[in-house]
């Protein structure tokens, strides 16, 4: 369709330009603050042009927040969530779309319901489970009286425990267990023609072979999209790492960043905070830029 409406075009571009400005302005301000000294960062009126202290501030932020070690932790968590999610979501969607089994509808709706219960909503029960992942099983044993039975019979007290606090497992697993990726895959898998599945069966490929040889290569763009989203999501997590890591040497970059923010009567070193913030922004930015080509294709178009 060809449209020639110069006024509408102008208005749209003005609106888009305004949106872009709203998006970039805070980042510009953060950059300006990161280039000032303490006085400059807190000056009234605000400064709009960069000062000479960027490198000093970056170095100070790096050492003060122990960013080297924190980056490693965050990177492991983000990559772990990303890989776990891409794999788990794919297998889950594979089971839901390509197999007929009795509990299929129930499982599908259970997964669907978790979309309405994000981590923030169920943070307390999730924390309890992270503190001892086997606690639900222990509860079942206690209630059914099996614990008592085993104790009287063998003299051994059953006490199941798997602590996940202050561990990578605890940081990663609860973030992996959400339904978003499953649905992305499900939508894509449903576009795969039935004939292709049948052709693979005729060719003698079993389910796992079909997954590996056909579905996996076909869903590369989806995987890239999901991986990008999950990396950024995991990198930006704040509440969960804050709760689950009590030891400073285990905390993530986001938690550490918040510790830099001046509180009470401390020195308002916003220049350092902003320099740290800029550094922390870099990895997700790099991932998005690198994956952009795949990412957009995976979300928008179905490759023919």
């Amino acid at each position: 369709m060809v449209e020639r409406r110069p006024l509408l075009n102008l208005a749209t571009h003005l609106l888009l330009g305004f949106g872009l400005l709203c998006l970039l302005l805070p980042i510009w301000l953060a950059f300006i603050a990161a280039t000032q000294d303490v006085a400059g960062a807190n000056a009234v009126p605000m400064r709009w042009l960069p000062g000479p202290h960027l490198l000093d501030n970056l170095a100070a932020a790096w050492t003060r927040a122990d960013l080297g070690a924190r980056f490693t932790t965050s990177m492991i968590v983000a990559l772990g969530v990303m890989a776990g999610k891409v794999g788990l979501a794919m297998l889950a969607a594979f089971a839901i779309v390509f197999f007929d089994w009795r509990a299929k509808a129930v499982v599908f709706w259970l997964v669907f319901v978790t979309l309405m219960l994000p981590l923030e909503v169920r943070i307390v029960p999730t924390y309890v489970v992270a503190a001892n992942a086997l606690r639900p099983f222990q509860a079942i044993l206690d209630i059914t009286g099996l614990t008592g039975l085993v104790e009287t019979l063998s003299g051994v007290r059953v006490a199941l425990e798997w602590r996940m606090l202050n561990s990578y497992t605890g940081l990663i697993l609860p973030l992996v267990a959400t339904a978003t990726g499953t649905f992305l895959y499900r939508q894509f898998f449903m576009t795969i023609p039935e004939e292709l599945v049948e052709a693979a069966r005729m060719d003698g490929a079993g389910p796992l072979r079909f997954l590996r040889d056909v579905l996996l290569p076909l869903s590369r763009t989806n995987m890239a999209a999901l991986a990008t989203i999950m990396f950024v999501y995991a990198w930006n997590q704040y509440l969960w790492p804050l709760l689950v890591t009590t030891e400073p040497q285990r905390s993530t970059v986001m938690v550490e960043l918040s510790r830099l923010v001046p509180r009470g009567d401390g020195l308002p070193e916003w220049n350092i905070v902003m320099a740290a913030a800029l550094t922390v922004m870099l990895p997700p930015l790099a991932v998005v830029v690198l994956m952009q080509r795949w990412f957009v294709r995976g979300l928008v178009a179905t490759e023919k």
Binding site: R201, M202, D203, D213, P217, K304
Partner: protein, 365 residues
């Protein structure tokens, strides 16, 4: 030994009240090209898919080369299938597509490559081996799909409406190519289609199906010349056979058409029997005892199809291209007795009039 035996094979989908395939029994000889023809929804694809192992058989038994296959996985049945939409793996090259069944079977790379090359050459796909399916034309994709089926050297080829996605010219080409291929490979082929030209030209054995049942089995010529049921008579042939309701009259030697003339039969039938009288358009002659009016003329290039009305009865007939027939023009028609088909109105079964002499002799005796 029969290559494929179907013994009262049925399929009833869960929750359905009627069987989609209802007790089909067939014996198909080794090396035959069998075409299953029927209108959409008659169960012909379901039958094929049951044989392939893509649908479970809910009743009866299917045997391939004497072996019961009901419970076998598709890959263990010795069948290869060509799908309507080709079902090529879009991310694999032509060579990988053709070689995939061999790869799954675990053949060494060198042997795989040799066999893929041989198959591709025989389908003149040699120079396209590195391309993706998306870069090929419809006919080429079809050939890749056939190649993927051929490379396993199966005992039975199953074709599920393989030509229906091609344009008219290509369809004629591929039809001939399928037939040549069949002759060269010597395997048994089973092709499902709703296109009667395809069925007539390809088949050694034609199976006509309707509503889950087999209506007639036989060589295409025999099925065309001597349809066993009214359905087969009306389904096979273009334009379709004239089917005119009437009642046996004149002492059993003729049929009085409803709102039409009395048509003499080549033999005798029980008088008073309600029948459908059939005659193919190409057998209706111009010039004869029955007065008719031209209602419409269709030009086919090679000839014309004339729609006429004989009193109240519509009749179509073939006329030569030179014929100067116009709408409203009167003409006289002949319905040669030897070309007539008689079907019982109620059951739709064919009725063979008893030969005159024999009947007369019986009466005299």
């Amino acid at each position: 030994m029969a290559a494929i035996t179907l013994d009262h094979v049925s399929k009833t989908y869960p929750g359905a009240t009627r069987a989609s395939v209802d007790g089909v029994s067939l014996d198909l000889p080794e090396g035959a090209f069998v075409v299953v023809l029927g209108p959409s929804g008659c169960g012909k694809s379901t039958l094929l898919r049951m044989l392939a192992g893509l649908e479970t058989i809910t009743g009866g038994e299917a045997r391939i080369a004497g072996r019961r296959v009901n419970e076998l996985e598709p890959k263990d049945r010795g069948c290869a299938m060509v799908f309507q939409n080709y079902a090529l793996y879009p991310h694999m090259s032509v060579a990988d597509n053709i070689g995939y069944p061999l790869k799954v079977a675990g053949l060494p790379r060198a042997e795989r490559a040799a066999r893929v090359r041989a198959v591709a050459e025989s389908l003149s796909l040699g120079e396209h081996l590195a391309r993706r399916p998306g870069q090929l034309s419809g006919g080429q994709r079809q050939r890749v799909a056939i190649g993927r089926a051929m490379v396993r050297e199966p005992r039975v080829f199953l074709f599920d409406e393989p030509l229906s996605n091609l344009d008219a010219t290509l369809r004629v080409q591929m039809r001939a190519e399928l037939r040549r291929l069949h002759e060269r490979l010597g395997a048994t082929s089973l092709l499902v289609t709703h296109d009667q030209v395809e069925a007539m030209t390809l088949a050694d054995i034609l199976v006509v199906m309707q509503a889950g049942r087999v209506e007639q089995v036989g060589p295409p010529r025999a099925v065309y010349d001597r349809p066993e049921t009214r359905f087969v008579a009306g389904f096979l042939g273009s334009p379709p056979m004239n089917l005119m309701p009437g009642r046996v009259a004149g002492g059993g030697g003729a049929v009085a058409l409803e709102d039409g003339p009395l048509v003499p039969l080549p033999g005798r039938l029980p008088a008073g029997l309600a029948v459908m009288l059939g005659i193919r358009p190409e057998h209706v002659t111009e010039g004869g005892p029955h007065a008719a009016l031209v209602e419409m003329v269709e030009d086919l290039g090679s000839g014309r199809v004339v729609h006429a009305r004989m009193q109240g009865v519509p009749v179509t007939l073939h006329a030569p291209a030179e014929a100067t027939l116009r709408r409203g023009q009167p003409l006289r028609l002949g319905l040669p007795a030897a070309r007539l088909h008689v079907f019982e109105a109620e059951s739709g079964r064919r009725h063979e009039p008893a030969p005159l002499q024999a009947a007369e002799a019986a009466l005299a005796g």
